[in-house]
């Protein structure tokens, strides 16, 4: 199958120019039959993230009680933080997959698509000069 080409998305910065980042619109749902999906939201394609990580607001919307979730200490650029783990269906190109996602209160964006759960399922090629990335699904769906 031909790789999916996705243009980088533009964001403002403080000096009046635009910054471009690899972003994908995704939906998530509880891992239950006929569970409703969230609306589409933007998540950054982030090879530096070990797991797919989403803002805790997404968990609350889905009805996940973070107090009952297994926790994990993560080491990030800005220090250690507690994240909450939960099984989740991630809707991505090529079909939905069930992943172990982490949720974080202080995430500055809605979501990060990381190595476990996302990159392991694709050949991802970043074409910085062209301001796009490509996704080639490699797992069995």
């Amino acid at each position: 199958m031909k790789p999916l080409q996705v243009s980088y998305k533009a964001f403002p910065d403080q000096s009046g120019v635009s910054l471009f980042s690899p972003v994908l619109s995704v939906q998530v749902a509880l891992p239950a039959q006929n569970a409703p999906r969230t609306r589409k939201f933007e998540a950054i394609v982030d090879s530096g993230a070990t797991r797919c990580t989403f803002h805790a607001d997404i968990a609350r919307h889905l009805g996940i009680d973070l107090k009952t979730c297994q926790t994990e200490q993560t080491t990030g650029i800005s220090g250690a933080e507690t994240t909450y783990l939960s099984e989740l269906v991630l809707c991505i190109p090529g079909g939905p997959v069930t992943i172990t996602a982490s949720f974080k209160e202080q995430l500055p964006v809605a979501g990060l698509l990381g190595m476990n759960g996302f990159f392991e399922r694709f050949v991802v090629t970043f074409v910085g000069g062209g301001q796009y990335f490509t996704l080639q699904r490699i797992d069995k769906t």
């Binding site: 910065d13 910054l19 607001d57 609350r60 982490s102």
Partner: protein
């Protein structure tokens, strides 16, 4: 997708550290709120099924958010 300049201007006009919804073509800010839930509820009231939701950061700048 909107021309990037239009999207950037829409994002620049949006509240910071908030949840926002853009029209499907990313040219219009159609809802804002303090939580995903609030924005989703506003979209329900508008009957909008196609909006794209984003979380805006505390300030706009380069992303450096890797979690682990």
């Amino acid at each position: 997708m909107a021309a990037f300049a239009t999207r950037v201007e829409v994002l620049r006009s949006a509240p910071l550290n908030a949840w926002i919804a853009l029209s499907d073509d990313e040219t219009t800010l159609i809802a804002t709120g303090a939580s995903y839930e609030e924005v989703s509820r506003k979209l329900d009231e508008l009957g909008n099924e196609d909006a794209l939701i984003l979380k805006t950061p505390l300030h706009w700048g380069p992303f450096n958010v890797s979690s682990r």
